[in-house]
C-alpha cells in the first residue's frame, strides 16, 4: 500500500524503530541508569540530612541527578542516526522532519520516565522521604519537568550532533537554557514535599516552558536537520 506519509504515521514508525534499537543495544538506558545510580549513592554519602532537611533538598538533588543522566541519554539519541549516515536517508525522503524530532523526543521521554520510576524509590529509601503535600501533584510535576528536559535536550543534541566535541557542547548549550525549567521543577517538587507553599505557580511555569520550547523546536528543527 502507498499513501502520503503523515506526521503521526512517521512519528509512530520512527518511535517504534527507536524503541526497538534501544531494546537491542540498551545504549541509552544502561548508561543513564548507571550514571543516575552513582549520583544518588555519592549524594547519600555526601549528606546525612534529617527527614525535614531531606524534604528541602531532595527536589534539587533528584532533578540535578535526572538532568545529568538525561544528558548521557541525549548524547546517544542522534549518534545512531549519524552512524552509517542514516540521517541522510531520512533527509532525502518526503517524510516530515518534525516527525523525526517528535519520535526522538517521545522516545527520550519514555527512557527518562523509566529512569525516574526506578530512581524515585531509591531517593525515598536513601533520604527517608515522606511528602507533606499531595503526591498526585508530584506526578504532574514529573511529567511536565521530564518533557521540559527532553524537548530541549533532543533539540540541542540535534544541533550539536555535527560538532566535533558534541559531548561537551550539549551540556554547555542545554544547561543555561534549562535554568528556568530546572528552577520550576525543583521549587515545585520542594513545595509539594514540604507542603510550605503552593506548587501551582511553578507547575504553570513548567507548562508554559514546555509549550514554548516544543513549538520553537518544531519550527526550527527542519533547518537543523538539513544543516551541512
Amino acid at each position: 500500500m502507498t499513501s502520503a506519509p503523515t506526521l503521526w504515521a512517521i512519528t509512530r514508525r520512527s518511535l517504534v524503530k527507536d524503541l526497538r534499537l534501544e531494546w537491542r543495544s540498551k545504549d541509552a538506558i544502561n548508561s543513564m541508569l548507571f550514571f543516575a545510580l552513582l549520583v544518588v549513592v555519592i549524594f547519600s554519602f555526601g549528606f546525612d540530612p534529617t527527614a525535614e532537611e531531606s524534604r528541602k533538598i531532595a527536589g534539587g538533588l533528584l532533578w540535578v541527578a535526572i538532568l545529568f543522566a538525561t544528558v548521557v541519554a541525549l548524547n546517544q539519541t542522534w549518534t545512531r542516526e549519524i552512524r552509517n549516515q542514516v540521517m541522510d536517508a531520512y533527509r532525502l525522503s518526503p517524510a516530515p522532519p518534525q516527525a523525526l524530532f517528535l519520535s526522538k523526543t517521545i522516545g527520550n521521554f519514555i527512557f527518562v520516565s523509566i529512569l525516574e520510576v526506578l530512581m524515585v524509590p531509591l531517593f525515598v529509601v536513601f533520604y527517608n522521604l515522606r511528602s507533606v503535600g499531595p503526591v498526585w501533584q508530584l506526578l504532574v510535576v514529573a511529567l511536565l519537568a521530564t518533557w521540559a528536559l527532553v524537548v530541549n535536550g533532543t533539540f540541542f543534541a540535534a544541533l550539536s550532533i555535527r560538532t566535533r566535541s558534541r559531548e561537551i557542547m550539549l551540556p554547555l548549550i542545554l544547561f543555561p537554557i534549562s535554568i528556568p525549567a530546572l528552577l520550576a521543577m525543583v521549587d515545585a517538587t520542594t513545595s509539594i514535599l514540604t507542603g510550605d507553599n503552593s506548587p501551582i505557580f511553578w507547575m504553570r511555569l513548567l507548562a508554559v516552558y514546555d509549550l514554548v520550547f516544543t513549538t520553537v523546536s518544531l519550527i526550527l528543527f527542519e533547518p537543523v536537520l538539513n544543516a551541512e
Partner: protein
C-alpha cells in the same frame, strides 16, 4: 524517451565550496531521462559532491539544479532514490526491518514490496541477521534495495560496487540496465568503469571539480585508470582554463 524531452536533471553553473576549497567549479549539464550515466574521475574530482548536490544533500554555493523539472528537490523526493558511500542503514535491525522503516517514510506499508526489493538485489528477505553482521558487499546490496524500494524514476548511486565481489557486481549492473530499460534515469559514481562499460549510455568525466569530458558509452581509454599522461593533460587543461578565466574576470 527522446533526447528532446525535458531533462531529468539540469545543472547550471554549479559551484560548491568547502571552506576555501572549490569541490565543484562551474558545472553546467543536462541529463535526459531514461539513460544510464557513469561519473568518472579521480578521488577528489567532485563526483560524489556533484551527486550530493543534485540529490539535495548539499546546497550549491552558486548555480542552480533542477531535478525532474523542479528546483525544489523536496517536492520530487518520492521520485528519486539515493545510495551513498555509507550504507544508510541501521546496524541493529535486519534487512527487512530496515526496508520496512525506510519504505514507510515514502508512505509504503506493503511488506511484500520490501521483500521483493531484497530479492531483486539477490538476497533472502527471511534472513534474520542484523545488518551490522552482514558482509560489506551484502550491506551494499541492501543499501541498493533501500534506494529502489519506492520504485524511483531517478537513481543516484555513489560507489555501489565498493567491496562487492565481481559476480554480485555484475548482477547489480544487470539490474541497473533492466531498470534503465524500463525508463529509470541512473547516475553511477564509480572507479570501476569496466563494470559499467557494457551498460553505460554516457560517461561524464570530472577533474578538479570541472566537467572535462562527456562521451557516449565508456571509451576504452577510460576503462583502465588514467595513464599519467592523460591525467596530466586533463589537469593542465583545467589549469589553463582557470588562468584564462581569471585573466578575463573583471577586476
Amino acid at each position: 524517451m527522446t533526447e528532446t524531452s525535458q531533462p531529468a536533471v539540469s545543472v547550471r553553473d554549479v559551484v560548491r565550496h568547502f571552506g576555501r576549497f572549490a569541490a565543484l567549479r562551474g558545472i553546467t549539464a543536462d541529463f535526459v531521462p531514461g539513460k544510464l550515466y557513469v561519473l568518472l574521475g579521480e578521488n577528489g574530482a567532485g563526483k560524489s559532491t556533484l551527486l550530493r548536490v543534485i540529490a539535495g544533500l548539499l546546497a550549491p554555493s552558486r548555480g542552480s539544479v533542477e531535478v525532474l523539472g523542479s528546483s525544489n528537490i523536496r517536492s520530487v523526493a518520492t521520485r528519486f532514490g539515493y545510495m551513498g558511500h555509507a550504507p544508510l542503514l541501521y546496524d541493529e535491525m535486519s534487512a527487512l526491518e530496515n526496508l520496512e522503516y525506510f519504505a514507510a517514510l515514502y508512505g509504503i506499508t506493503d511488506r511484500a514490496r520490501c521483500e521483493q526489493a531484497i530479492r531483486t538485489v539477490g538476497l533472502d528477505p527471511s534472513l534474520e541477521r542484523r545488518v551490522g553482521q552482514y558482509s560489506q558487499g551484502m550491506r551494499q546490496r541492501i543499501s541498493l534495495a533501500r534506494a529502489i524500494v519506492h520504485s524511483p524514476e531517478l537513481l543516484f548511486l555513489d560507489e555501489p560496487f565498493s567491496n562487492v565481489d565481481l559476480r554480485s557486481a555484475r548482477q547489480m549492473t544487470t539490474l541497473l540496465a533492466k531498470m534503465r530499460d524500463q525508463g529509470t534515469t541512473i547516475f553511477v559514481v564509480t572507479h570501476q568503469a569496466a563494470l559499467m562499460e557494457p551498460v553505460a549510455d554516457e560517461c561524464i568525466v570530472l577533474d578538479a571539480g570541472r566537467l572535462v569530458a562527456r562521451e557516449k558509452g565508456i571509451p576504452a581509454r577510460l576503462l583502465s585508470p588514467y595513464s599519467v599522461e592523460e591525467r596530466d593533460a586533463l589537469r593542465d587543461e583545467t589549469l589553463r582554463r582557470d588562468s584564462r578565466e581569471n585573466a578575463e574576470a573583471p577586476q
